[in-house]
Each structure stands twice: as structure tokens, then as C-alpha cells.
Symmetry: C2
Subunit: 387 residues, 2 copies
């Protein structure tokens, strides 16, 4: 571990088929007024809404609802939640849904009672010094890792900006309940989008600088396992063990564990955030489309690491192959995986137009792992996966 | 993940060359009276004692010392600490040393102000319901993982019993400072003993039941990485990156991460605890001696998993090999690794006598992963590695 690091993650995880049974005990630690945040109603379809309501009632909570949190949660929606917190003196925020709902809940927790929170916490990245409202989560969609970290990605529609902020441990969910059966009704498209989000989180941390260490060993194992489990999930989406493996990989991929001692990259996410701001596409599918041309371009700056990726993640035999060849085979295998399991490969199918490409390139935050992209290079990458 | 699990680990880790710089800020969270617990004086040799004392002084703490904590900390030593806590109204326990010192500090934290704590907490495994004194640690020797868990292994000399208790999160160190350079002066023998302790922690969790999942994928990566780094550490013990990789693997191997969804084994540790109670041998070396005959015996109950171990951990090519053959090659590779790096292979060299073997077998706690050993089988295993 060439670089010093701190690691601290105080989120409690309850994982498995009976994990909802822990909700009542957890709720006992918090005050009476609960803001129940959720999305478009899928939690009603699977019966989870009723179950949660019953537990809230049993725990004698006074419940205010914020529904309709969208896949890329907007600043406006978040501020609607913040004003509910203020109005009802909310003691605890319970987020039930995917990463968007949890991201939104964390945003609400930080934004309530604050003036101009967008500028302070998403643009200027100010430290949060005030006491925030505690958040707990019940996860129904896999990919963002939001259930065990301080991340909160919010889209400001007026400003056409999608910004990810990572808050400190005070904003992490106090607990998260993960029951893989809740993810069974998600469409194949959404499942695959979530899976590529996980894969991208790992690649963004893996491909960086001169910092190879145990974190890389762990990420190789997680990527290898994710690929193996993805093929099985496509074959049989209702295989509990497979879906639970994917769900736990998702949490581990972004709970801080795999980034220790790493400098990291995150350029693919930066580009995708702006793609998302213009197209509102599924985040993971955007990442899938951008990744192949991005890594083909970046490979030249660290062929050694891409050769290691080929060998350890895709298990491509390395005998009699030079580094360049092996590295290229690794990216080919990545492209092949994306295609075979049915993820998106072009921006056009995600709703982007040719006119959007320079706008996306010009609004992307720059700065990365092996090489800081220039705007022309971002544009080149976008053009390479346009159609 | 076939089995439900909870995961919660609130220990803060400060890792790296400058990690001691966080001590002062951490101390500010706790009261004035500090019990400073350490071992045989090696922390004075490396200058750490003086550095810590200076920080404690700067933080205006009133310091009481408990020195001389031995490699297998005794109940008597622990109770000496507990009585210091009571006498001096200790607010915080700072453990500076290896796993034994941290185990002892956690034991003191639990035992203070309690009647008959040995029976309650190490024999009857009662839940700790009282408020314990918070513990922080500075690690100088790698292996036990005590810096980020609730484990406390204590030896009761009068009763000839060495018992490991795992306490809940309230007893975990609040923070642990890990600076790999502190481990540089440990002898090669102690370094290797610590390394095999890590390897054994991983095998004890890996080889169990019908619970194969992502935790196994992670453990394969950690074991593979540990082997690679051990060979490098034997070659050059002062390689910072190698020693830091080993230190972090050690923490991860027993902080709860790798056991999620696993039923686990721990029979090798059970046997070694009694070997240790009779010989006071270095814990990891005891584990190294016992492991080969134990796994050779157990292999028949899960050849599939031992074949996987061979393939994924030792990277033995699996083509044209049946499961039994591959499994056996894996154990051979383990035995070879133990021998090549210079770990102990016989109980005789650890100070055991032939007469001790039945006494050890008869006092070992039974019950394990693939197969519950009978006492005769424990004795068989001990005889197989006697000389």
C-alpha cells in the first residue's frame, strides 16, 4: 500500500431473506417522525410498501411520504423532501428503493434547514458541519452501492448538471436492509444496467496510477466473480444465490473497501454523468457504452495493468503473449462481455443525438487515473461509441 | 449467499507511515485517565513508547501503565489490568503492541468491575450488557486481526485453558493505527508465525459446508496474494509495500468481511489453542504444524472445495486432472509453502512431548466445518505432525 489511507464504515448491513425482521429494532433508536422516501410504486407491487408501513405503525411512528423519486433524482425532488423534513420536524428518513432513492434521501438529510445547498454541497463541495437527519435504507435495486456509503448523485435540471457528491460517515445510512428477492422483479435491462454500474465502479478504482496493492487483488476477484454471476443471472434471473452474490459485490464495490490505498480514476463516470444529464439514460447502460472506447484509448498509458486485467479478471492465458497483445485481448473480452449479456454499446440507442456530443464533452469534469483527458479526447471517445 | 448475515464493523483504521498523526485527535474523544497497555519493551526499542507518551502528555492525559503483556496473555495479567482500571477510574485503554496486547486490552475492558469474568465471558459466553471501557490500538505485529474485531483470546494458566471469545461491536477497538514500519523489527520467526495465523484464519472460514459464495472469491484472492507477498517478505523483510500488503490482508482476514454468509470451521484453531495452553508455542507456528495433517484428513469430506482451493489459491492448472488429484495437489502445495518459507512442521520443535498429545486431544473443543472430529481423530492428527 504505497499510499496512506483511512478506512471507516459504520453502516450496519442486514442481508438475506429475513433481513426486514431487523427494521423494527432499528427504528427504536430514532425519533417519532419518519419521512418514508420511495420511487415510482414498484415497492407497492411487490408488497414491500405494505410490510414497511405495518412495521412503522407497530413502531408507533408518525409517517410522512415522499414518493415519485425518479431514476436520476432531481434537485427539485430533493428540495421537496427537504421542505417536508422542516415542515414535519422529521427525525429519521427511511429510503426504500434503488440507489436513486437512497441518494435522494442522503441529499435531503444534508439539504434540510440549509440555504442554497446545491451550491454549497454539490458544486463547492463544502464539508457538512451541521447535524444531519439520520437515514436508513431498504434496497430494491442493485448497482450504485449507495446503501453503504456517503454518495449522493443529484441532477440539477435547470443547470443541466448531474453531480455526484461523497459525504462523510455521518451521512452514511445508519443501517441498510438487503433482501435479494426484492430485486427479482427489476427488468432485465435494469438488472444489466445495475451490473455494469458495479463493474464500472471496480474498473474506476482498479485502473489508476502506480498504486497496485491488495485492493487490486480484491477487485480482480470481485470483477471475475461478477462476470461469472452475470452470465448465470442472464440465464436464470430468479437464482437467489446468483442475485445475492451480485448484490453483495455491488455493496463491496463502493463501500470504501476496494479504494483503500488507490488513487482511482472516475473519468467514465464523469462522462456518463453528463450523458445522463442530456439523455436521462440508465446510468449503467451509459457506462457500458462509454467504457470500451475509453479503455481502448487509455490502455496505451498503462499496458501492464491492462495485461494484468486480461489475465486475472478474464483469465486469458498469458503464455507466449506480449503485454500489448494481452492488454488488447482484455479490452476485447470486456467488449465481448458487454455485448454477450445484452448491455448497451452505442450512445444512439441511449437517446443521444450527434448534436449532444460536443455539449456533453464540454460539460464533463476532467481529470483521471492514468491520463487526464482533453476535451477533444472526450469527444473522440463519445464519437467512437455513438453508433 | 445461501445464509442470511449481518455485517457491522465500526472500527476506524488509520493505515500508513503517518498514521500515528491521528492519535491526538482520537484521544480527544475520551476522558482523562488512560491505561497504556504494552508488552515486553520492543515498543521502547523502536521509539514508539516515547512518541506515544509525548502525544498522551500533549493531550493532557493522566497515564497508568500496564506492561509485560505476554504472547499468550494470561487471565492473571488481564485481571491485573482490570484492577488498575477500577483503582484509577480509567476512561480509555490504549493498547500498543501485537494481537496479544490488544486481546488483553479488550479483556480488561470487559472484565473491569465484574465478578468472576472468566467464567461469565470466556467459559459461559455470556452477552456483555454492561458499559465497557473504550479501547484504541496501535499495532506493531501482524496476524491476529485483533485490531478490527471483538476477539479476545486469554489463557487461564491454572485451568490449562486457552479460550477465544468474540465480543460484539461495543468491545471492538474504537480506532486502530497501523504503520507497517512498526512491524519491521519483528523476528523472521514471529513474522512467519503471524503470516500463517492469517492464512489459517482464511482457511478456517473458507473450508465449510455448502455455503460457497462471494466470500470464497475474496478469500481466494487474499490467500493467493498472501502467498505471493510472503515469498517476497522472506526475500526482503524491509519491503514496505510487501509488509503493508500483508498487514492489510491480516486485518481483512478477520474483521468479519470474509465470514459473511459462511458457516466456518475453526477446528485447527481449537486444537492449537490447547497445544498453546500446554507448550506456550507461537500461535501461528502451532497452526502451521497442525494444518497439513488436518486438511489431508478433512479433504475426503469436500474434495470439490479442495480442488477449487488448489486451482484458485495455488493456481495449479486443472486440465486433465480429476477432483481428487487436484485436491491432493492443493494440500501438497500448502505443505510445500509452509516448508519453503520456513514455518514449523512438527509439534516436537514447538516443545510438545508425546505425553502431551492425549491431554491436548482430550481438552480440545470439538465441532467444525465439514466434519466434527472425534477425540481419536484429533489425536491421530496430532500424532501425524508430532515429528
Amino acid at each position: 500500500m504505497r499510499y496512506d489511507f483511512n478506512f471507516y464504515n459504520p453502516t450496519k448491513i442486514y442481508f438475506g431473506k429475513d433481513s426486514l425482521s431487523h427494521l423494527e429494532d432499528e427504528l427504536a433508536h430514532y425519533g417519532k417522525n419518519v419521512l418514508f422516501v420511495y420511487g415510482g410504486g414498484s415497492i407497492k407491487k411487490i408488497g414491500l410498501y405494505d410490510q414497511v408501513m405495518e412495521i412503522l405503525k407497530k413502531a408507533k411512528k408518525s409517517v410522512v411520504e415522499l414518493s415519485g423519486v425518479m431514476p436520476n433524482p432531481t434537485y427539485k425532488k430533493m428540495m421537496e423532501g427537504a421542505s417536508l423534513v422542516e415542515q414535519h420536524h422529521i427525525d429519521f428518513i427511511l429510503a426504500v428503493g434503488g440507489g436513486s432513492v437512497i441518494d435522494c434521501a442522503k441529499g435531503i438529510s444534508v439539504a434540510a434547514y440549509q440555504e442554497n445547498p446545491w451550491k454549497k454541497y454539490w458544486i463547492d463541495n463544502e464539508e457538512v458541519k451541521h447535524t444531519t437527519v439520520p437515514v436508513g435504507s431498504i434496497l430494491t435495486m442493485v448497482g450504485t452501492g449507495s446503501e453503504m456509503n456517503g454518495g449522493s448523485v443529484i441532477t440539477n435540471e435547470e443547470e443541466k448538471l448531474k453531480k455526484g457528491r461523497v459525504f462523510d460517515q455521518n451521512v452514511y445510512p445508519k443501517f441498510s436492509i438487503l433482501n435479494p428477492t426484492y430485486t427479482f422483479t427489476v427488468s432485465k435491462y435494469q438488472m444489466l444496467s445495475g451490473i455494469f454500474d458495479i463493474f464500472s465502479h471496480l474498473m474506476e478504482q482498479y485502473f489508476s496510477n502506480d498504486d497496485d496493492n491488495v485492493s487490486d487483488d480484491l477487485m480482480e476477484a470481485l470483477m471475475h466473480s461478477l462476470i461469472k454471476n452475470t452470465y448465470k443471472a442472464v440465464e436464470n434471473p430468479l437464482d437467489y444465490e446468483v442475485r445475492s452474490n451480485i448484490e453483495w459485490i455491488s455493496t463491496l464495490a463502493l463501500n470504501g473497501l476496494t479504494k483503500v490505498g488507490k488513487t482511482q480514476d472516475w473519468q467514465v463516470h464523469s462522462i456518463e454523468h453528463q450523458l445522463g444529464a442530456y439523455t436521462d439514460c440508465a446510468h449503467g447502460m451509459g457506462l457500458a457504452a462509454i467504457s470500451t472506447p475509453y479503455y481502448r484509448f487509455i490502455m496505451q498509458y498503462a499496458p501492464y495493468k491492462f495485461a494484468k486485467f486480461a489475465k486475472e479478471v478474464f483469465r486469458i492465458p498469458s503464455e507466449n503473449k506480449d503485454e500489448q497483445t494481452l492488454a488488447k485481448l482484455g479490452i476485447d473480452a470486456l467488449a465481448n462481455f458487454i455485448k454477450e449479456v445484452g448491455m448497451c454499446t452505442t450512445l444512439k440507442e441511449l437517446g443521444a443525438t450527434k448534436e449532444m456530443l460536443p455539449l456533453i464533452a464540454n460539460s464533463t469534469d476532467l481529470g483521471g487515473g492514468y491520463h487526464d483527458l482533453a476535451r477533444e479526447e472526450v469527444l473522440q471517445i463519445l464519437e467512437a461509441c455513438y453508433e
